[in-house]
C-alpha cells in the first residue's frame, strides 16, 4: 500500500511516528500550516514556523524516507487576532517557494467578519501565485460554515478543481460534491470520521475527487488512520488499485496542480542514514553537531 497523507501536522509528531508511517507505506505527506495549540502573539512566530515547515521538518521526514511538502497560510483561528494578521504581507515570499503545494489551511473557525476578510484575501493570493487551496471547515456549525465557504470560493473565481474542502462528513459532503471542489475527510480515532464511515461514503459516492487524511497533530489522533482506511476499503471489496487511487493518486493529482511536488525520484529504499545525492530540494538542514 502506497500512501500520501495529504494533511498531517508532523511538527507535533515524533520520529517514532515517521518510522511507523514509513513501514506502513506512507511515502509522502503535506503538512498544512495551522494553529499550534498555544496562540501566537506576533508575526515573527509565524515566520519561524513557516521556516521550520520548509527546512527542519522536510529534513526530518527525509531521514525516514518520506517526502514532505507544506501549505502556507494564516489559519482561521488566528485570523481573528490583530497581532497576527500582518503576516498576510509576508505570505507572498513564502508562497513562491519550492515544496509549497497550496495555500492553506484557510477558512472559518467561528465565522467572524475578520475570518471572512482573511479567507477572501488568501483565495486571491492563491490565484496570484497559481496555487491550489486547502480549506479547513469549522468544528462548530460545520454545515453553515461549509456553505459559506463554497460561496466565497465561487465568488473568488478560482476553478473549483483547485480547491480542497477538508474535514467533511456525511452531512457536508453533498454540497461540496456538487460544487466541483475536492472532498477531504479527516479520519480520527474518535471524532470527525472513522474508517468505516469513510468506506461507506466512498462506496456511495465513488472515488473521484475524494481525499482521505489522518490530520494527526498534537491532539488525540493517529498518523496511521490513512492505512486503516486502506485496509477497511480492501475488506469492503475495493481493489488495491482503488486504494491506490484514493490514498496516493488523488492527493498527487490535487497537489500536483501546484507544479511543486517533490516526488521526482523514487519513493522507496531510504532510511535514517540515507543521503539524498543529486536532489537539492529534498535536502534540509543536517542534524546539529554531527561529527562522525
Amino acid at each position: 500500500m502506497r500512501i500520501y497523507d495529504p494533511h498531517i501536522h508532523m511538527t507535533s509528531r515524533t520520529t517514532d511516528d515517521y518510522a511507523r508511517m514509513y513501514s506502513a507505506g506512507v511515502r509522502a505527506v503535506t503538512e498544512p500550516a495551522f494553529w499550534l495549540g498555544q496562540p501566537r502573539t506576533n508575526v515573527g512566530s509565524f515566520c519561524d514556523y513557516f521556516d521550520s515547515l520548509l527546512g527542519w521538518e522536510r529534513f526530518r521526514a527525509a531521514q525516514y524516507g518520506i517526502k514532505h511538502h507544506c501549505t502556507i497560510a494564516l489559519n482561521p483561528k488566528e485570523a481573528n487576532d490583530p497581532r497576527c494578521v500582518e503576516v498576510l504581507e509576508l505570505l507572498p515570499r513564502y508562497l513562491a517557494k519550492d515544496g509549497v503545494v497550496a495555500v492553506g489551511e484557510v477558512g472559518f473557525d467561528s465565522m467572524t467578519d475578520d475570518e471572512e476578510k482573511v479567507f477572501a484575501r488568501q483565495l486571491e493570493l492563491a490565484g496570484e501565485h497559481d496555487l491550489p487551496v486547502l480549506v479547513h471547515t469549522p468544528h462548530r456549525d460545520k454545515a453553515a460554515g461549509t456553505r459559506r465557504t463554497l460561496e466565497l470560493v465561487a465568488a473568488s473565481g478560482l476553478p473549483p478543481e483547485r480547491v480542497l474542502v477538508d474535514h467533511l462528513n456525511e452531512t457536508t459532503v453533498a454540497m461540496v460534491a456538487d460544487s466541483g471542489c475536492w472532498m477531504g475527510f479527516s479520519v480520527y480515532p474518535d471524532t470527525k470520521m472513522d474508517e468505516h464511515r469513510m468506506v461507506r461514503i466512498l462506496a456511495d459516492r465513488g472515488l473521484e475527487r475524494m481525499i482521505v487524511n489522518s490530520a494527526a497533530d498534537w491532539g488525540h489522533s493517529d498518523p496511521l488512520k490513512t492505512v486503516a482506511t486502506g485496509r477497511a476499503m480492501l475488506e469492503h471489496g475495493f481493489t488495491a488499485a482503488d486504494v491506490d487511487r484514493v490514498l496516493w493518486q488523488n492527493p498527487v493529482d490535487f497537489y500536483g496542480q501546484s507544479g511543486r511536488l517533490l516526488l521526482d525520484d523514487d519513493t522507496t529504499a531510504t532510511g535514517p542514514t540515507a543521503t539524498f545525492e543529486g536532489n537539492s530540494v529534498l535536502r534540509g538542514q543536517r542534524p546539529s553537531g554531527q561529527e562522525d
Binding site: 527546512g55 515570499r93 513562491a96 517557494k97 519550492d98 543529486g278 530540494v281 538542514q285
Partner: protein
C-alpha cells in the same frame, strides 16, 4: 547583460540562460519583484550541481546559485542610486530564504559591491549547523571582510561539522599561527578521545612554524 550571465553563470545551458536573461530584463524594469522571483529560481531557471562530484554545492556553486547571483547583480544595478533599498531587500531575501535561497545569497555576496554590510548574513550562516550554509559563508567574501577571530572560528567549525577546507577561500593566505594552534588543540582532543582527525586539518597544521611553537 549576456556578458554578466556568461561571467557569473558559466555552467547554465542555453535554455537556462535564455530564461535567466528574461528574468534579468524583468527585474531591471521592476527590481522589487525579486522577492517573488528569487525563491522560484530552481523551478524557473535551473537546479542541480555544477560539479557532479559536489552535489551539495559545498565546494562549488550549484546552478541555482549561479542564476541567483546574476539576479542579485541585476537588482543591485537597478537600485544603484538606492543602495539602502538594495541592502534591505538583500537582508530580507536571506531572512526569509530557505536553505537553498540563503546559500544563493551567501555565494553572491562577493559580487555585489556592498562593502562590509553583508557581514551580519555571514555571521548568521556561521551560527547554523547547516554544512551548505557554513561552506558558502566561508567563501571569498569572508576571506576579504571577516575579522580574524570570526574567520578562525569559521575554519574550525568547518573541520568540526565536516565541511571540506577546500570550501574556505584563501585558506592558505589567511591561515596564521593562532589558527594552527586551535586546530592542533582540536586534533589533540580528538586523539585523546580515540577519534579520527579530518585529513584536511593538515592543510592548517602544516602552516608556518606552528608545530615548532607548540614545542616551546
Amino acid at each position: 547583460m549576456n556578458t554578466m550571465i556568461d561571467h557569473a553563470a558559466p555552467h547554465l545551458d542555453d535554455a537556462a540562460r535564455a530564461r535567466l536573461a528574461e528574468l534579468v530584463e524583468e527585474l531591471s524594469a521592476q527590481p522589487s519583484k525579486i522577492s517573488g522571483v528569487f525563491p522560484a529560481v530552481g523551478r524557473t531557471v535551473a537546479r542541480g550541481p555544477s560539479d557532479p562530484a559536489d552535489p551539495d554545492g559545498l565546494r562549488t556553486p550549484r546552478l541555482e546559485d549561479e542564476a541567483r547571483a546574476v539576479l542579485l547583480q541585476a537588482v543591485a544595478a537597478a537600485w544603484r542610486s538606492e543602495p539602502d533599498r538594495f541592502a534591505t531587500e538583500l537582508a530580507a531575501l536571506y531572512r526569509f530564504g530557505d536553505a537553498d535561497e540563503k546559500r544563493g545569497v551567501l555565494r553572491a555576496l562577493p559580487t555585489l559591491n556592498i562593502g562590509t554590510s553583508g557581514l551580519p548574513i555571514v555571521a548568521d550562516a556561521l551560527r547554523t549547523n547547516d554544512l551548505r550554509l557554513i561552506a558558502a559563508a566561508m567563501g571569498p567574501y569572508a576571506a576579504e571582510h571577516l575579522d580574524g577571530d570570526s574567520w578562525r572560528q569559521g575554519v574550525l567549525k568547518c573541520l568540526f561539522v565536516g565541511v571540506p577546507l577546500e570550501a574556505v577561500a584563501d585558506l592558505h593566505r589567511r591561515t596564521d599561527a593562532e589558527l594552527a594552534r586551535m586546530v592542533a588543540d582540536y586534533a589533540a582532543e580528538r586523539g585523546a578521545a580515540g577519534r579520527s582527525v579530518p585529513s584536511d586539518a593538515w592543510l592548517v597544521l602544516n602552516h608556518g612554524d606552528a608545530g615548532a611553537e607548540k614545542e616551546n
